[in-house]
């Protein structure tokens, strides 16, 4: 049964040290507030799954929480590299982080297979790609009708998935609109799902029947965190804070400036601060 509670409580009850966890969002609706709560609560030895690890995993990797990264694009979209992830992979700072690297197609298909309850995904991919030589989880199956060899990857089945969504209704159904990304699959593939939302509404009357709605019985916990996707955006609520993505490139460039930024903006902050971060972006949404 879905539970409405604070983000601190939702995270405390659903994420434990050593978990395999996905904080998903594809440019849109990235669950920054949930990731910051995980950082504040000091979770360790996590296997972090995400197609586009982005700022949130740069932060978690920089804080030494990640044992392993499963990903397909390790960049700051539209800006450049992720400097804390680079420091981990190039210099093992602050710790050694294992990686399992895929293409977007590989990750998307692996989540789809997870949501579908299959052990693996089949697709036409990785042809001529160097990843096949460095990732033993990229294998092959042969079409039993045509003989064509196709790529196979294991399904992704996170222990927990965190997403941010526009709204929940009183029953706990969750609505995701706009660029829906991989969120539905990430939730349905997980053992447990936790959702932060902009707001809770009475019901979804008037919502289009083919919208992406996750029924309440597929969710464990819902926490209301307005602005919880900042600096990414929430379609219909606030725009992307592009300046913060540019700024991150400087913050993360240096170990000291990173620690100072994390202390001020994450460790000493609370989920409520997110609402104030998006005030100036609401007019542009």
């Amino acid at each position: 049964m879905v539970k409405f509670c604070s983000l601190a409580e939702a995270l405390a009850e659903n994420l434990v040290d050593g978990d395999t966890v996905a904080f998903e969002g594809f440019t849109h609706l990235i669950p920054h507030a949930a990731a910051h709560e995980a950082i504040r609560q000091g979770r360790q030895e996590l296997t972090l799954i995400r197609m586009t690890p982005d700022l949130v995993y740069d932060q978690m990797v920089g804080m030494g929480m990640a044992k392993k990264l499963i990903f397909s694009y390790l960049g700051n979209p539209g800006v450049g590299l992720l400097r804390r992830c680079r420091d981990a992979l190039e210099n093992c700072y602050p710790r050694v982080v294992e990686i399992e690297e895929h293409s977007h197609a590989g990750m998307a298909n692996a989540y789809e297979a997870g949501a579908a309850g299959l052990p693996f995904a089949v697709f036409r991919g990785y042809r001529g790609a160097g990843l096949t030589e460095v990732n033993p989880n990229i294998r092959s199956v042969t079409c039993p009708f045509t003989g064509e060899p196709l790529a196979a990857v294991p399904a992704l089945r996170p222990d927990v998935t965190f997403i941010h969504a526009q709204k929940a209704n009183r029953k706990g159904d969750v609505l995701v609109e706009g660029i829906v990304g991989i969120q539905k699959e990430a939730v349905l593939a997980a053992k447990r799902a936790v959702v932060t939302v902009e707001e809770v509404v009475e019901d979804f009357a008037g919502v289009h029947p083919n919208c992406c709605v996750l029924p309440h019985w597929t969710i464990r916990a819902i926490a209301v965190v307005p602005g919880g996707a900042h600096p990414s955006y929430a379609h219909g609520y606030y725009a992307r804070d592009n300046a913060t993505y540019l700024e991150w490139d400087h913050v993360a460039a240096d170990r000291e400036s990173f620690r100072a930024w994390m202390k001020k903006h994450v460790l000493d902050a609370k989920p409520e601060v997110f609402a104030s971060r998006v005030g100036h972006l609401r007019r542009a949404a």
Partner: protein
Amino acid sequence: MSGPGFTPEEMMTIAAARALSSHDVCLVGIGAPSAACNIARLTHAPGITLIYESGTIGTAPEVPLSIGDGELCETAVTTVSVPEMFRYWLQEGRITVGFLSAAQLDRHGNINTTVIGDYHHPKTRLPGGGGAPEIATSCGEVFITMKQSLRGMVEKIDFFTSFGHGDGGDARAKLGITTKGPTLLVTDLVTKAFTVASLHPGVTRDAVQATCGWKVVFADPLEETPPPTVRELTTLRDLKARTEAAHRGEKVAAGTGGA
């Protein structure tokens, strides 16, 4: 290149845009490819279908800052999930042109955006492939844009992020790949297929070879790329100005604690 009225980067983006037509269904990467695709849409190819890997199909963004902006969705014909994008739209072969950039490129169009140095002990860890490995093999053909440099255009790439033509010849066919692969490379200096077809205005053969790590082959006759038209250049600069304003504007607003 004194005073032609445009920069080599502008020429690169515009030359890339010219290669697209209204009949194309184009998968857009971010950065230079996105600018080129939108210049095409705003000038000679209004019917072009632009698809972003975030799931937006048939978009017409004013300011495409990233591959997942809200504007991409608002202006799209439809927005689908990421698995659907990669299965129904890319994998099926509905995309006629994929646009890619490269950190390292070799003469056969093989691309590295994964790592400089050894994969397991990287000198520089780059972002990785994202959608590129399958864009390179599932799109009808691939256009590559990048600035020339000896660091980027190399004899041998450190990692095969995306397969081009392997070691040349029928390397793609041997892997069962039926799409054309890289057919066009547009740099800040030249437009080429496999041989250099066209020098951008004011560029010399020596300048091209000086910034390319492999032995450059020039077509004969070798053409000069027509310079940007006023419309092309205005469109490009407008797009760039809007993008910078979006960055700057929001930064200012953030700094003042905005409304």
